[in-house]
């Protein structure tokens, strides 16, 4: 069934920051999921900004229980629907902290048991709701309130945890990464995930203007730069094999880093050439692993006329 792009199930008037990437993820995934959907949220920005009692932004049935148990709650819903003979989609929308860190036990259990659920992680690369603390999805060298850059620190010490592969290793039939900067691609992936029986996973990159330190008008541009530098890769995995990758003509990572306050310490007071080289190596590694580089034909030297 084609996605009805006019369908709006995420009501305006919610309390997200202007330019919030997660709010866009919420609106887009619902367009793809449609009205026959039950949504489970984890504690975090999206839950808080969308449901200040007695108001709600959700025009589909929605439940939030705790920070770390959305996949277990979804398991119970799916199980109940099955016994009742009902057919609604069960979709989790949860932050990177809820997904990569505190909720891993529940997700692992739900995926191993094979529930027919779709799990969407909106990845804004930190615990934003509680004030920009690092998570397992925070990128290397990003300064957060618990991984601050300082005289003897360059920010977050570890690269992002590879959650998609962890879930692919659970035998998930469909795992994909996406970005809110590419809405059509994201919605198609959500639709595909929902239509694939069994536990499926989509991790969508959702830039956070407040947490990353950029102007709210630039959310899509920042999302695009992440892809264009190779620091975020959009791909699909079917039965554990990478089947589709977004290719790019890669830009140097500085172009992405310099736009965000969380990486400011790499440029001021002095250019941290060594650290930037390490981040470039992460992008190069991604490029090689997923084969994202578009090889341009070598430029001919043309005499100026």
């Amino acid at each position: 069934m084609a996605i009805d792009k006019t369908c709006e199930l995420f009501e305006c008037g919610h309390r997200a920051c202007g330019g919030c990437g997660a709010a866009l993820a919420g609106r887009l995934f619902l367009k793809a999921a449609g009205t026959e959907t039950i949504v489970v949220s984890s504690t975090g920005c999206m839950e808080v900004f969308s449901t200040p009692y007695p108001e709600t932004a959700w025009k589909v049935p929605w439940i939030h229980s705790l920070f770390e148990n959305a996949s277990a709650v979804a398991s119970g819903i799916e199980s109940a629907l099955k016994v009742q003979g009902r057919k609604e989609n069960v979709v989790v929308i949860a932050g990177d902290g809820a997904t990569l860190d505190i909720g891993v036990l529940c997700i692992s259990g739900a995926f191993e048991r094979g529930h027919d659920i779709t799990y969407i992680c909106y990845d804004n690369e930190a615990y934003m709701n509680t004030g920009i603390q690092r998570s397992g999805a925070t990128p290397y060298d990003a300064s957060t309130t618990t991984s601050p850059a300082g005289r003897v620190s360059m920010g977050n010490k570890r690269p992002k945890k590879d959650m998609p592969r962890i879930l692919a290793a659970h035998g998930s039939p469909y795992v994909a990464t996406a970005s809110i900067a590419y809405p059509a691609d994201f919605m198609q992936k959500v639709e595909k995930a929902i239509n694939t029986p069994g536990p499926t996973y989509v991790q969508v990159h959702a830039p956070c203007c407040t947490g990353w330190g950029f102007d709210g008008s630039k959310t899509l541009a920042i999302g695009k730069l992440a892809i264009e530098t190779g620091l975020w890769v959009n791909y699909e995995m079917v039965d554990g094999e990478v089947t589709k990758v977004k290719k790019v003509v890669r830009k140097p990572v500085e172009e992405y880093l310099k736009e965000q306050k969380r990486f400011r310490h790499l440029f001021k007071p002095a250019l941290a050439t060594g650290e930037i080289a390490k981040i470039q190596a992460i992008a190069d590694g991604n490029a090689e692993k997923y084969g994202i580089d578009i090889k341009l034909p070598p430029k001919k030297d043309v005499e100026p006329v």
Binding site: E47, H64, S65, L66, E68, N69, A72, S79, C106
Partner: protein, 390 residues
């Protein structure tokens, strides 16, 4: 009335089957294991049309129940001790969302030190979570409280989850004669779950929203009101059960030999059986002793208890739990605190005995010694401590 000799856990599992939960979600832990194993077998044999979710933890077990009940299905879980502790966060959440459930607790001590044996510290420690807490004296009562538990929990005047507590090993692993109702009898007493709200694409609702200080207080008030209404609904449903099946559960406190009692014991659970035997012996010795047994700890039937204790000279509370650090220089369990609260303003002395923790056996002689201590005005202490710690 046909009686079968059954292990407590098996009887409970058979009662749960007759309650027809659509989703069973539990994680094994001693001494609850026989219940969940028996239910797995029941489902595997097609004797219960339920989805049995083999979760990876108690935390997910109860979280899955949250989802199942929110989607409109009757669900079931069972746990104890460490498993219940792991559910702590979900317990508060489930009651706050007003999702009804019955969860069996095969009461067991909490570590450290690790102990698999009985006391009631586990469920007592969730006193303020908003769940109903019912305590069975024997396996017949444990079985019947499951039917009653669902009916009360799902009543729209209540809509709260319920723990049906029975003492680990002492009841769960003991063979006793039990009358099992037929499926038809249970069906007539316990109709299918009719949720007040459920997750349904046909009429969307939001559940578990966040509340600012403008609203939170009112949610806690509403939940407390539901507990208060549960007092009456428990009496009503317990009475109906008695009228149908001959076992009356309308009293939330049960009085035994209380007519002329001077010393009243107050207790919950299987210790009450031993206590009744001890009372019978003491009565032949001319001692005016009685027992007031609490069937419901949440909601707490303060007025009923006060009435039951009116006119006694002294009260001895047997607490199979301890609220560590309470009571100044003396020791206090949670039940004694409630009893004192219920008797506030009266001059009846209430003395507490922390007894039987971690499976320490409590015998008839022990109950008699407690009564002697109480008569001597000595209490608010651990009973039966090894002398080397003194």
């Amino acid at each position: 009335m046909a009686l079968e000799i059954m292990e407590g856990s098996i009887a409970v599992a058979q009662a749960v089957r007759r309650c027809r939960p659509q989703v069973v979600s539990a994680y094994p832990i001693t001494p609850q294991t026989h219940i969940v194993e028996a239910l797995a077998e029941i489902v595997a044999n097609g004797e219960l049309a339920a989805d049995y979710i083999t979760v990876e933890s108690e935390f997910s077990a109860l979280s899955a129940c949250v989802g199942a009940v929110a989607a409109g299905s009757r669900a079931y879980s069972a746990t104890t001790s460490q498993g219940l502790a792991l559910m702590f966060e979900v317990c508060f959440n489930m009651a706050g969302m007003r999702l009804p459930l019955v969860m069996t607790i095969a009461n067991r001590a909490l570590g450290a030190p690790l102990s698999i044996w009985n006391d009631q510290q586990d469920s007592i420690s969730l006193r303020d979570a908003g769940w109903l807490q019912l305590y069975a004296e024997d396996n017949q009562e444990a079985v019947d409280l499951h039917y009653i538990g669902y009916k009360v929990a799902e009543d729209h005047r209540v809509l709260l989850p319920a723990m049906v507590c029975f003492d680990g090993f002492i009841l769960s692993h003991t063979y006793e004669p039990v009358n099992m109702l037929s499926q038809e009898e249970v069906d007539a007493f316990l109709p299918p779950f009719v949720p007040k709200y459920r997750l349904d694409a046909a009429s969307p609702v939001s559940m578990g929203m966040y509340a600012t200080p403008d609203y939170y207080l009112e949610f806690r008030y509403e939940t407390d009101q539901a507990q208060k209404r549960a007092l009456e609904v428990l009496r009503e449903v317990g009475k109906e059960f008695g009228e149908r099946f001959g076992r009356d559960y309308s009293e939330l406190v049960e009085s035994y030999q209380m007519e002329d009692a001077e010393t009243a014991l107050v207790a919950m659970g299987s210790i009450c059986g031993t206590t009744k035997d001890a009372i019978d012996e003491m009565r032949t010795e001319g001692k005016k002793v009685g027992l007031v047994r609490l069937r419901s700890f949440r909601p707490f039937p303060s007025e009923d208890l006060k009435a039951a204790l009116a006119g006694v000279t002294r009260v001895a509370v047997l607490d199979k739990n301890i609220t560590l650090g309470a009571g100044g220089a003396t020791a206090r369990g949670a039940v004694a605190l409630e009893v004192r609260d219920a008797l506030y303003g009266s001059t009846i002395p209430v003395l507490d005995y922390i007894i039987g923790l971690g499976g320490r056996d409590v015998r008839i002689e022990d109950i008699k010694k407690v009564v002697a201590l109480c008569e001597a005005g000595e209490g608010d202490r651990f009973y039966g401590l090894r002398t080397e710690v003194l």
